[in-house]
C-alpha cells in the first residue's frame, strides 16, 4: 500500500462529513445560561460581597462559564478522548506554575516588608 493510498484511507472518515448535528435548542440554552452566569458574576461585584464568599462565587461562575463554552460551543464534549486529553490536560501545568509562583510572591512580599519598610 502506498503512502498516498493510506492517507486517502485515513482521510475518508473526515471527508464523509462526520459533522456533528446538534439541535439549535442546545445552543440557545447554553447561550441563556452564559447570560445568567455573567449576570451572576456581575452581581457579585454589584452587591459588594467580600471575602471567601466573593472569591468562591467568582471562581464557581468562572468555571461554569468556561466549561459551557468549551464543552458545548467548542464541541469538546463530542470529540474523541485522544483530542480532549491532549488539549485539556496540559493547562494543568499552568496551575502548577501558579502554585509555585504563589509561594515565590509570598516570599517576595515578606522580604519587601522586612527590608524596605521604614
Amino acid at each position: 500500500m502506498t503512502q498516498s493510498e493510506i492517507h486517502q484511507q485515513a482521510a475518508i472518515p473526515t471527508q464523509d462529513g462526520d459533522h456533528q448535528q446538534h439541535p439549535v435548542r442546545l445552543y440557545i440554552i447554553c447561550w441563556g445560561l452564559l447570560f445568567v452566569l455573567s449576570a451572576g458574576s456581575y452581581m457579585v461585584d454589584f452587591m459588594q460581597l467580600q471575602g471567601v464568599l466573593r472569591w468562591s462565587l467568582i471562581l464557581i461562575f468562572m468555571t461554569l462559564k468556561a466549561g459551557l463554552i468549551i464543552a458545548v460551543f467548542m464541541h469538546m464534549a463530542w470529540e474523541r478522548l485522544a483530542l480532549s486529553y491532549a488539549i485539556l490536560l496540559p493547562p494543568l501545568f499552568v496551575l502548577m506554575f501558579m502554585a509555585i509562583m504563589m509561594f515565590e510572591s509570598d516570599y517576595t512580599v515578606l522580604t519587601r516588608i522586612e527590608e524596605f519598610s521604614p
Binding site: 474523541r80 478522548l81 483530542l83 496540559p90 519587601r112
Partner: protein
C-alpha cells in the same frame, strides 16, 4: 514503496478510554475523525492558553507581592450614568456583548453544518459586528483611563504595576479580538460568494460543501470569549 502501517486505521475506532489508548498508540495519525485544520487550531489555542496563563500568573505575582494597595477595579472602572455611579458597568456590558457574539458564532457554525450559505455569512457578519463593538468599548475604556492618568509605570489609584498589567492583558486580548473580526469578515465573504460550494480546493476548503473553515473560525472566536471569562474573573472582579 512498501510502507505498511503496523495497525490499520479502523473505520469505527473504539470509544472511551480504550479509544484514547488505541488512538495514541496507533500508526499514522492520533487525532482520528478530526481534520488537520481543526487539530492544528486546537493546538494553537493550547499554546495561546499558555500565553494568557502566563500573563495572568504575572498579574497574580505583581498583585500579591506589592506592598502598596491594589486599585479597586470596581471603582476604577465605574461609570457615571444619569447621576449615579455604576460599578464596573462598562466591563459588564462588554462581557454581555462578547457572549452574544459567541452565541451568534455558534449559530453560524450550526448553519454551516447544514451548508446554508446566506444565514452562515450573515451570522458571521453579526459576530464580527459584535466583536468590533467590543473593541470599540475597549478603546473607550483605555482612553478614559489614560485620561485619568493611568500609565504602564504609574497610576493615581494605587500600586504602580496596575497600569502595566492592565494594558498588557487587555491589549493582548483586544488584539486577539481584532484579528478575529478581520478573519470573520474574510471567511464570511468567502461563504457569501459561495467559494465553499465550488468543486475546487483552496487553502480553506478541500472541495464542494466543505464548510469546516467556519467551524475552525468558531473555535478561535469562542476561545477569545473564553479568555475574557478568565480576565473578567481575575482582573476585574477579584
Amino acid at each position: 514503496m512498501q510502507d505498511t502501517p503496523l495497525k490499520q486505521p479502523s473505520a469505527t475506532p473504539a470509544p472511551g478510554l480504550q479509544g484514547f489508548v488505541d488512538d495514541w498508540s496507533s500508526d499514522q495519525r492520533t487525532f482520528k475523525k478530526v481534520s488537520w485544520g481543526k487539530a492544528m487550531m486546537w493546538i494553537f489555542l493550547l499554546s495561546d492558553t499558555f500565553v494568557f496563563g502566563c500573563f495572568l500568573i504575572a498579574y497574580m505575582i505583581a498583585r500579591s507581592s506589592t506592598v502598596s494597595d491594589w486599585p479597586n477595579a470596581s471603582e476604577v472602572f465605574a461609570l457615571n450614568i444619569g447621576g449615579t455611579d455604576w460599578p464596573l458597568i462598562l466591563i459588564a456590558i462588554m462581557t454581555f456583548v462578547l457572549i452574544s457574539s459567541s452565541g451568534t458564532m455558534a449559530m453560524a457554525v450550526t448553519c454551516a453544518y447544514r451548508r446554508a450559505r446566506k444565514p452562515t455569512a450573515l451570522l458571521m457578519v453579526a459576530t464580527a459586528a459584535l466583536g468590533a463593538t467590543f473593541v470599540g468599548m475597549q478603546v473607550f475604556e483605555w482612553s478614559k483611563l489614560i485620561h485619568e492618568g493611568v500609565r504602564p509605570w504609574a497610576n493615581p489609584f494605587g500600586a504602580e504595576q496596575f497600569g502595566g498589567i492592565f494594558f498588557m492583558i487587555t491589549g493582548f486580548h483586544g488584539t486577539h479580538v481584532s484579528i478575529g473580526v478581520i478573519f470573520l469578515l474574510i471567511v464570511a465573504r468567502k461563504v457569501w460568494n459561495g467559494e465553499f460550494d465550488r468543486d475546487e480546493r483552496s487553502w480553506m476548503c478541500s472541495g464542494k460543501g466543505d464548510y469546516e473553515a467556519v467551524e475552525i473560525m468558531g473555535l478561535y472566536w469562542h476561545f477569545v470569549d473564553l479568555v475574557w471569562v478568565f480576565i473578567f474573573a481575575f482582573f476585574y472582579l477579584w
